[in-house]
């Protein structure tokens, strides 16, 4: 049967359809006009018109993270591609599968400094998992399918496909995904039997064990979270999660110690410091988790399960490295555990839990209410209480509000919590919420935001309005770049250099001018009503919550300190001066 001839743009669209894509986030421009023509002529793929390309990538991330599918972006050459760079770097750090199609000047003009030309593959090489410049018509179908394969397999990540305009206009034959198999990229997903048995032995023999799990569990699909929950409950051991891992184990479970790390729970960090067997599944020993490396969990035997061999022994030397997919390895571990049916040391565990309960009693997330002022923690607590029984997705921006959200919003399952962990991208939350809302039109999607971050991609309010997406933005408004202000207070002698945002807009009026509904709370007594009204309002809503400007985020491990040197609250501040070494760290 002769293959149907199509132009390059039709081939791209056909490949997207065959890859199961139903939505792309994009912005047109000269180099991608042929593709937009092909989009115009079909109705299988919905195009969401963003307001700036950076927003498109975060939307694709929100879409991908909340649905488990690949997020797809389409932008033009030059500035279209360079605007997408931050989002690509974000997706790389947090291992989010994204395919980003970028327009390019025609092949004969590449290198000529043509209008809207940029070396897109050169610029995006270090911030993508892989990228392609399609230089010949016949490569196009293969590259399209490969891009989806690479984005999803192994440790997921962003893939850029740079498409010169002549390739988009030239004719070629389409070939389906079933006709291609990647020549060499085959990440290892299953652990060796001997390693599994050794792991079970170590886990069973622990006296002070701790599960430490991260985003790898979320990326391995909802099944991985179910398996993890089963394994943790079977052992009766305590568990902590990283920022990226929240939801992988139910937060309401008594075995959950909360998030660990710089702003993690006291009990989680001290358990990490004193455990004798650490079971790390899908976490990467990020510096925000480890604190001072030399004193990180000093006495533990470490098991590390990760799909990416380069994550193993990168920061922390481990005793039993296991390369594999979290879902598959957890299944192997569960089966091996059941087959062996070991008897853990009940007596030691009882003592360990007693110690943990002592730490828990410190109630490290406690804060002091005073007068009518709204404490940011209180606002998020109330938001949690009023939305927890709903089908809800939470995104955040970056800063204090993000940490408070991680501390006070409790997630019972995976894919509900979308935050920029690795890159820490301010401006992530609003577009990510829009992406999540596109994937889940009937769900309640809330961006817990800070006012400074919110301004960074505020143009996307217009996107939500255009597609009638009922996103809710819950702005913890303290008029400061709160985390910057907090560091300046604790480490730079209270010299608040450029961390106050003067001349902030009136967010209620901003909402109204973008066809959103605007609400505001300025006193504690108004918070509940504003949240109720926000939920009851059908369309998109900004809830501007004016909170205590001076509140700091605790607990906190100062940079360069160890887990057992954490600050629990404002009264602790003077006790431990920050070391010189710590000052250098970010």
């Amino acid at each position: 049967m002769p293959r149907r001839r199509m132009n390059g743009s039709q081939i791209v669209i056909k490949a997207l359809v065959d890859q199961g894509v139903d939505t792309i986030f994009g912005y047109p421009g000269g180099a991608v006009l042929p593709l937009y023509d092909a989009i115009f002529e079909q109705n299988q793929i919905k195009h969401i018109l963003v307001r700036q390309e950076g927003g498109a990538v975060h939307m694709a991330e929100g879409y991908a993270r909340s649905s488990g599918k690949v997020g797809v972006v389409l932008v033009t050459s030059g500035p279209g591609a360079t605007n997408a760079v931050t989002g690509l770097a974000d997706a790389l750090m947090d291992s989010i599968p994204v395919v980003c199609l970028t327009g390019q000047v025609p092949t004969h003009l590449i290198g000529n400094d043509a209008f809207q030309e940029a070396d897109t593959t050169g610029i995006t090489r270090p911030c993508t998992k892989h990228n392609y410049l399609v230089k010949s018509q016949e490569d196009l179908p293969r590259v399209m399918h490969e891009a989806f394969y690479v984005a999803q397999h192994g440790r997921p990540g962003p893939v850029v496909v740079d498409l010169p305009k002549d390739i988009l206009m030239g004719e070629g034959a389409y070939r389906g995904p079933e006709e291609f198999e990647h020549k060499s990229y085959r990440p290892k997903t299953r652990a060796d039997k001997a390693d599994i048995e050794r792991a079970v032995e170590l886990i069973a023999g622990a006296k002070r064990p701790l599960f430490y799990c991260g985003g790898g569990v979320i990326n391995a699909g909802p099944k991985a979270s179910k398996l993890l929950t089963r394994l943790i409950r079977l052992t009766g051991y305590p568990a902590t999660l990283t920022l990226m891992g929240l939801g992988a184990f139910p937060a309401s479970d008594p075995q959950f110690l909360g998030m660990l790390g710089m702003h993690g729970n006291y009990e989680a960090n001290l358990a990490m410091h004193e455990c004798d067997v650490m079971i790390n599944i899908g976490a990467r020993f990020d510096d925000r988790v480890t604190g001072r490396l030399a004193d990180f969990s000093p006495g533990s035997t470490k098991i590390h399960v990760d799909i990416d061999p380069s994550s193993i022994n990168k920061n922390v030397q481990v005793d039993l490295p296991i390369v594999g997919d979290a879902a598959i390895v957890l299944d192997q571990l569960l089966k091996a555990w059941k087959a062996k049916d070991p008897t853990p040391d009940r007596k030691a565990l009882k003592a360990w839990w007693a110690k943990i309960e002592q730490w828990r009693k410190r109630d490290c997330l406690r804060y002091r209410q005073s007068g009518k002022i709204i404490k940011p923690q209180y606002a998020i607590q109330r938001l949690y209480e009023k939305t927890k029984d709903r089908d809800v997705y939470i995104t955040t921006e970056v800063g204090q509000h993000q940490m408070w959200a991680a501390q006070f919003y409790k997630f019972e399952g995976p894919n509900r919590w979308l935050t920029s962990g690795g890159l820490g991208t301010m401006g992530y939350g609003l577009p990510a919420a829009i992406g999540a809302q596109v994937a889940h039109p009937k769900s309640l999607v809330i961006d817990i935001a800070g006012e400074a971050s919110f301004l960074m991609n505020i143009q996307e309010l217009s996107t939500a309005a255009q597609y009638r997406l009922p996103v809710k933005a819950f702005i913890i408004n303290n008029q400061w770049m709160g985390m910057v202000r907090q560091w300046q207070e604790l480490m730079h002698g209270g010299r608040y250099s450029e961390s106050y945002t003067a001349a902030l807009p009136d967010f209620v009026k901003v909402a109204e001018s973008f066809h959103w509904t605007g609400l505001r709370a300025t006193e504690q007594s108004q918070v509940d009503d504003v949240i109720d009204e926000m939920i009851a309002t059908e369309g998109p809503v900004i809830a501007d919550i004016a909170v205590d400007q001076a509140e700091n985020c605790f607990p906190m491990i100062p940079s360069g300190a160890a887990h057992n040197e954490m600050l629990l609250g404002p009264d602790d501040e003077a006790v431990t001066p920050i070391s010189e070494e710590g000052m250098v760290l970010v």
Partner: protein, 167 residues
């Protein structure tokens, strides 16, 4: 932490656009050292190239380098020739010496000892071709310095495992 080791790593890659930039970008982006790097296509029918890179670092860093290289999509195979059995290493250099009289004769004599060949000569200069280990080339160049050394071009190390096995 401070035991810095020197390793020769052989990397088989798909010969596609940008692959060398990917490898070099990995080293510069993550702050790894490159002592030398050579690249050429070695299997045209399968479009495969081989990169030989000599790098230094602590054992932990060397392991990281290998894991990071293996993670690149177009990389097919990474072999640490320094740890995985014996290997032979060779480097080639072209060395230009400008001198007359006794110095000129002396440079020829030393070239003979090192089995270097003169591949270009004028009344006042030679270009020597020499191959061998990096240390041998270093020694030869050092001896040429007082004899009118003008210019040096070196290939960097290429290496291959000893014995019958292929990469």
């Amino acid at each position: 932490m401070s035991d810095i080791e020197r390793h020769t790593i052989s990397v088989l890659v798909a010969n596609e656009a940008g692959v060398l930039a990917r490898v070099i970008g990995l080293f510069s982006g993550r702050g790894y050292n490159i002592e030398s790097l050579t690249v050429a296509e070695v299997d045209p029918s399968n479009a495969l190239s081989k990169i030989t890179v000599v790098t230094t670092g602590t054992p932990m860093i060397i392991e990281q380098i290998k894991a990071q290289l293996e993670r690149l999509v177009p990389v097919r195979k990474v072999v640490d020739l320094t740890t995985e059995g014996p290997a032979v290493e060779r480097e080639l250099a072209l060395i230009k010496v400008k001198s007359r009289g006794e110095k000129r004769v002396e440079s020829l004599r030393i070239a003979d000892i090192f089995r270097a060949r003169a591949i270009d000569s004028t009344n006042g200069s030679f270009v020597f071709e020499i191959s061998g280990t990096t240390e041998k080339l270093n020694a030869f160049i050092r001896l040429m310095e007082p004899l009118g050394l003008v210019d040096v071009s070196r290939t960097g190390v290429v290496a291959i495992a000893r014995g019958p096995g292929g990469l």
